[in-house]
């Protein structure tokens, strides 16, 4: 079936031309045009090559549309009013709910295209979201989902077993697993990465290649992987980054990156923070990725003073620039009695989207030079109280993966 059957037309429209035009349209228009005909639908949603071309054009033109994926993980009413703990295995979780948020208030409910239960959002790359079921300090039943098109692919379980270890490191109570997801541009491959904390001289890095449909175990020296704080790594420049505290409170933190193409670790320099204050080694550092792809680091000291630094040129230590700074007290009223907050994204212009975890809210703040941050919008997660939520930045794309080999 051709893409265009001319009736009473004086010109014969070439298929190439139609595809070239479609490539330049925004995702919303293209999703709508999947209703034009079966052939158009097949090209737009099911052709990985089209998704790839569209992403290239959008990236070049700067028309990629970032959205926030809101994931809500409800549980049944807890016993004795206990707030659900994210990673307890015996909490009875109900199916996760997902919404997409565009701008300040445009929210759409998303249909999750699978019966898989308790799927948690782990990371996102090029509009593809990596999800998994958290179980006994590991993520199993991984899957890939494109929320814009509904594309869904389950990732086969690894053939090797993973040890169920009890972590003796109290400081890692928040997560026992480090993970990330990214693309190797040279081979157009996408790779989820899972790493267990080091218990010996070596640590196992579990890498899955979507193109090869294969799991691999890479052994890396454990010196690269001690003392990480956050489970989720940040993708930038083809590598996944974590902050490393070799000896918390004593030595300087560093940043490690796992290069997805080379499949090895390397060091990336952090900014040089103010050396004169006490307790410089007790900073909390978290990595963000700036809207637009530059690596960004959030540092919070003991006194609640926050700084956001951006590495303008990847790998060049001198290119670290302080973008934003403020104290806990400077924050707007929405933050009162909410000590626990987490940025979802930071933009060049100082716009920040923050998760207020206790209040189940997302707030946007604008940070301008010489002024206190101002709250510009809020979004409340409407859900019965026994749920935890998360917000993940993702791009609206039509990217999909070819059928398995």
């Amino acid at each position: 079936m051709s893409m265009s059957k001319m009736k009473n037309e004086s010109f014969d429209l070439h298929e190439d031309v139609i595809v070239k035009i479609l490539c330049r349209l925004p995702v919303k228009s293209l999703i709508r045009f999947t209703c034009v005909s079966k052939r158009w639908r097949s090209i737009i949603i099911s052709d990985p090559q089209f998704g790839k071309s569209h992403l290239q054009v959008a990236s070049q033109q700067g028309t990629l549309c970032p959205k926030v994926l809101i994931s809500i993980y409800p549980t049944i009413k807890a016993i004795q009013g206990q707030i659900p703990y994210p990673f307890k295995d015996d909490t009875p979780w109900l199916p996760s709910r997902f919404q997409s948020l565009e701008g300040y208030s445009s929210v759409n409910n998303l249909t999750f295209p699978s019966e898989e239960k308790s799927q948690r959002v782990m990371a996102s790359c090029n509009g593809l979201v990596l999800l998994g079921e958290y179980y006994k300090s590991y993520f199993k039943n991984l899957s890939i989902w494109n929320p814009s098109t509904g594309f869904f692919r389950k990732i086969p379980s690894p053939s090797f077993g993973f040890e169920v270890t009890k972590s003796t490191e109290k400081k890692n109570y928040r997560s026992f697993l480090y993970y990330g997801f990214g693309q190797v541009t040279a081979t157009d491959d996408y790779k989820p990465v899972l790493i267990k904390p080091a218990l010996g001289d070596f640590v196992d890095v579990h890498v899955f290649s979507l193109r090869a449909n294969l799991w691999k175990v890479i052994k890396a020296p454990s010196s690269s992987c001690i003392g990480w704080i956050d489970g989720q790594g940040s993708l930038s420049n083809g590598a996944i980054h974590w902050v490393n505290y070799p000896i918390y409170g004593v030595s300087d933190p560093t940043m490690v990156a796992f290069d997805l193409a080379e499949e090895e670790f390397r060091q990336v320099p952090l900014p040089v923070f103010n050396q004169n204050e006490d307790g410089v080694h007790l900073r909390q550092i978290k990595i963000q990725v700036l809207l637009g792809g530059c690596l960004c680091v959030w540092s919070q000291d003991l006194y609640g003073h926050s700084e956001f630094w951006v590495m303008r040129e990847y790998g060049v230590p001198e290119s670290w620039v302080k973008l934003i700074q403020f104290s806990q007290d400077d924050l707007p009223n929405e933050f009162t009695s909410c000590s626990s907050w987490d940025p979802t994204f930071v933009s060049e212009g100082g716009t920040m989207l923050i998760k207020l975890l206790d209040k189940k809210e997302l707030v946007w703040i604008e940070c301008r030079q010489e002024e206190n941050p101002v709250c510009s919008a809020q979004y409340r997660i409407e859900e019965f109280p026994w749920a935890i939520f998360d917000g993940t930045l993702y791009d609206e794309t039509l990217v999909s993966l070819p059928e398995g080999l």
Binding site: M1, M3, S4, K5, M6, K7, E9, S10, F11, D12, L13, H14, D16, V17, I18, K20, I21, L22, C23, R24, L25, P26, K28, S29, I31, R32, F33, T34, C35, V36, S37, K38, R39, W40, R41, N108, T111, G150
Partner: protein, 184 residues
């Protein structure tokens, strides 16, 4: 096959008072589907890959009138207009604003249907930068239109039955909201 000497000779014979000037500017002649004949300056003609290939690959004499059965006269006028401007701006250092102004005027009086026909022609004639520009222009004009409009414009038949259509539409109702359907 004529030699280049013959070519020059024939041009000189055909030209009028400004023979000397025309001698320097070689002309290529094409005939479109509706029988119209166009004389193109060589440097403009060479921007059109299909013409360039035709004359250069087999060293065909410029005396030959190249037939373009897939191109309408009005389309040729527009293509020549764009390519001539492109060649002119090649020699300018900062032609950005001028190019933008020109491009806005270029599409001003064309219906979306005509724009689409012209895009198809640019593809056939193999003028990459014109094709890119026109694809972008068409996409701008259709991005907020609804499904019916697009089907009509591209001449696509709906092969969904009612039930299938509703099903597909229901997958992403948000994509069908806030459209602009003024007739163009």
């Amino acid at each position: 096959m004529s030699t280049s000497t013959d070519n020059n000779a024939s041009i000189t014979q055909e030209s009028g008072p400004s023979a000397a000037v025309q001698d320097i500017q070689k002309k290529i002649v094409v005939r479109t589907a509706d029988g119209e004949v166009f004389n193109l300056k060589e440097e403009v003609a060479m921007e059109i890959d299909i013409i360039k290939t035709f004359f250069q690959e087999d060293s065909i004499s410029y005396e030959t009138v190249m037939p373009l059965p897939n191109v309408e006269g009005w389309e040729m006028v527009k293509v020549i207009e764009y390519c001539t401007k492109h060649v002119e701006l090649k020699h300018k250092v900062d032609g950005y604003k001028e190019r933008k102004a020109f491009q806005a005027l270029f599409v001003q009086n064309l219906s979306t249907k005509s724009l689409l026909a012209l895009t198809n022609t640019a593809n056939y004639l193999e003028v990459k930068y014109l094709l890119d520009f026109l694809c972008q222009a068409v996409s701008e004009q259709i991005k907020n239109k609804d499904v019916d409009y697009v089907r009509e414009l591209f001449g696509v038949e709906n092969d969904f039955n009612d039930e299938e259509y509703e099903q597909v539409k229901a997958e992403a109702p948000w994509a069908h909201e806030n459209l602009n359907n003024d007739l163009h």
